[in-house]
Amino acid sequence: MSFQEKSRWIALAANLVAWGWYFVTVGHLLAAGVPDERRLLALMIPVIIVITIIHIVGHVIVAVLKPGEATSELDERDKAIARRAAAIGYNVLCLGIVIALGSTLYYWNTFVAVNAVMFAFILAECVRYGVEIATYRRGLAG
């Protein structure tokens, strides 16, 4: 497994863990009534901290285990895989944003709208990482 593939696994895990916790918490808050949008910042700070820690610790471990590969730059296959994943992730993002914004026509609340757009963004990111990992595994021939 290349350093780039390991890096995508770390990024996917970090996003799933941190944003997973965030959206579960948001779900609980919404179930108890729509909260004040000022709570957004209080919820996002731990998410950013956790993502940063997982990224740093994960990449340090991977770099220590295989120091030679950690310095390798993206080669043509890495770039081709990244382009493919970005194209699919972009489509997911567009669809998610349209659904999120469309839903605000029926129900408007800043907290809900911001989280709906953010969910679309995070989902698109996770799909992008997932497609990259799957393509590294399955191959990109033809």
């Binding site: 497994m1 290349s2 593939e5 590969e69 390798s72 080669d75 043509e76 296959r77 890495d78 081709a80 399955r138 191959g139 990109l140 021939a141 033809g142």
Partner: protein, 71 residues
């Protein structure tokens, strides 16, 4: 065009080049060891430039490395 795919003889060429490793070949052509492995296994079709670089490393013609053949 169904039924045909890109095949290659890189593994054989590496063997005849003194058991050159995938990492060594990768270093010569500017890709990672994993990318050389993916090319060998037919999991990645390299760019034309990289294909020519591989042929150049072994001192053979492009068609001696890559073939468009029946699966």
């Amino acid at each position: 065009m169904k039924g045909k795919s890109l095949t290659n003889t890189i593994r054989t060429l590496r063997f005849h080049a003194g058991e050159m490793t995938q990492a060594e070949l990768g270093e010569k052509i500017g890709v990672t060891r994993q990318t050389v492995a993916a090319i060998e296994q037919g999991k990645y079709s390299p760019t034309l430039e990289t294909a020519f670089r591989i042929a150049d490393v072994f001192g053979v013609a492009l068609e001696d490395v890559f073939r468009w053949a029946e699966e």
